[in-house]
């Protein structure tokens, strides 16, 4: 079988970096992007400096992937930002930034990836959402709303892209120690963890495990689903 081509957004750090390393270890050719450059490098990984909500920048990545590999097998929409703040204290600029990265960026990458995947009648798209959506976590209104939108997109795109052999699924992690949640007070994280069936923090490996399953060739009949970690 050909080497799988896997595009992951938001790879500079956190879960995205873990996923890039994980899929390189699995033998994939990994293409990644983030707004900043990476201070690490890996054989089998190529980085683009691109904001996921920038249409031109996104198209450049896909043009390159098409020229180089002629196809794309997997897309993992991991790039995401949050705003851990009471809604009454959230500036409009933050609202726009969160929606742009989490919703517009995810949509754009799904759209462009699907064009490329469709030529091969095969593709796997995985979007990152969060348990904060079903838990209606207070203090993160716009972040939660953006991730609820990602969930809706996943469901609708699953239907629109099914005729092209593309599946679209989501994974919803619990709190994982990355920069994203660094500013969240410990008591709040503890309260969140206590609402899970299995009360512990998550790891990037827990996320990769779910994505591994969605990416399997044999998972072709699984689409439009979201798997929440920790028993939420």
């Amino acid at each position: 079988m050909d080497t799988p081509i896997t595009l992951i957004t938001g790879t500079r750090k956190g879960i995205g970096r873990y996923l890039a390393e994980h899929y390189v270890r699995c033998g994939h050719r990994v293409v990644g992007c983030s707004r900043g450059d990476v201070d690490w490098s890996l054989d089998g990984y190529q980085h683009y400096v691109a904001d996921v909500s920038d249409e031109q920048a996104a198209r450049r990545i896909f043009t390159d992937v098409r020229k180089k590999y002629g196809r794309l097998d997997h897309l993992i929409n991991n790039a995401g930002i949050g705003s851990m703040n009471h809604s009454l204290l959230t500036p409009l600029s933050t609202v726009n930034a969160v929606l742009n990265t989490n919703v517009v960026g995810t949509f754009l990458f799904c759209r462009e990836a699907a064009k490329l995947m469709k030529t091969n009648a095969y593709g796997r798209i995985v979007n990152l959402t969060t348990v904060a959506v079903p838990l209606k976590l207070e203090g993160e209104a716009i972040y939660v709303a953006s991730k609820a939108a990602v969930l809706s997109l996943t469901g609708v795109l699953a239907r629109e892209l099914a005729p092209f052999g593309i599946t679209v699924n989501a994974v919803g992690p619990v709190a994982i120690e990355t920069d994203l949640i660094r500013s969240v007070p410990k008591e709040k994280i503890d309260r969140l963890v206590s609402r899970q069936a299995i009360p512990r923090l998550g790891t990037a490996a827990d996320v990769a495990n779910v994505i591994d399953f969605y990416l399997l060739r044999t998972s072709g009949f699984i689409t439009g689903q979201c798997l929440f970690l920790g028993g939420v």
């Binding site: 249409e55 198209r59 450049r60 043009t63 098409r66 759209r111 064009k115 469709k118 030529t119 005729p163």
Partner: protein, 98 residues
């Protein structure tokens, strides 16, 4: 540029006929209706054609444009209604990108 784009689109239409079993009339030209009234394509066929045309423009003209358009379903203004309309629309985007 228009004749070039028309022929690029016609090639993509031909290919769609061959690979996706879309029944095509014997004569194809700029006036051939694509989508909407008397159009050759259903909505999945249209999506496939638009992507194929975007990729052909990228390969042959070296320009990357998105042929997405809000007026897809409009009977009068849709850039997808005929081969010629799509060529005009693509041409305007290519000029804007230059």
């Amino acid at each position: 540029m228009k004749p070039e784009l028309v022929s690029l689109i016609l090639n993509a239409v031909q290919e769609l006929g061959e690979h996706n079993g879309v029944p095509l009339p014997t004569a194809l030209d700029g006036d051939t209706p694509l989508f909407g009234r008397d159009g050759l394509l259903d909505s999945l066929g249209l999506v496939t054609l638009v992507v194929a045309v975007e990729q052909a423009i990228e390969d042959e003209l070296g320009v990357s444009v998105s042929l997405a358009d809000e007026r897809a379903l409009s009977q009068r203004a849709s850039p997808y209604r005929t081969v010629g309309a799509l060529a005009d629309y693509a041409g305007s985007l290519i000029r804007a990108a230059a």
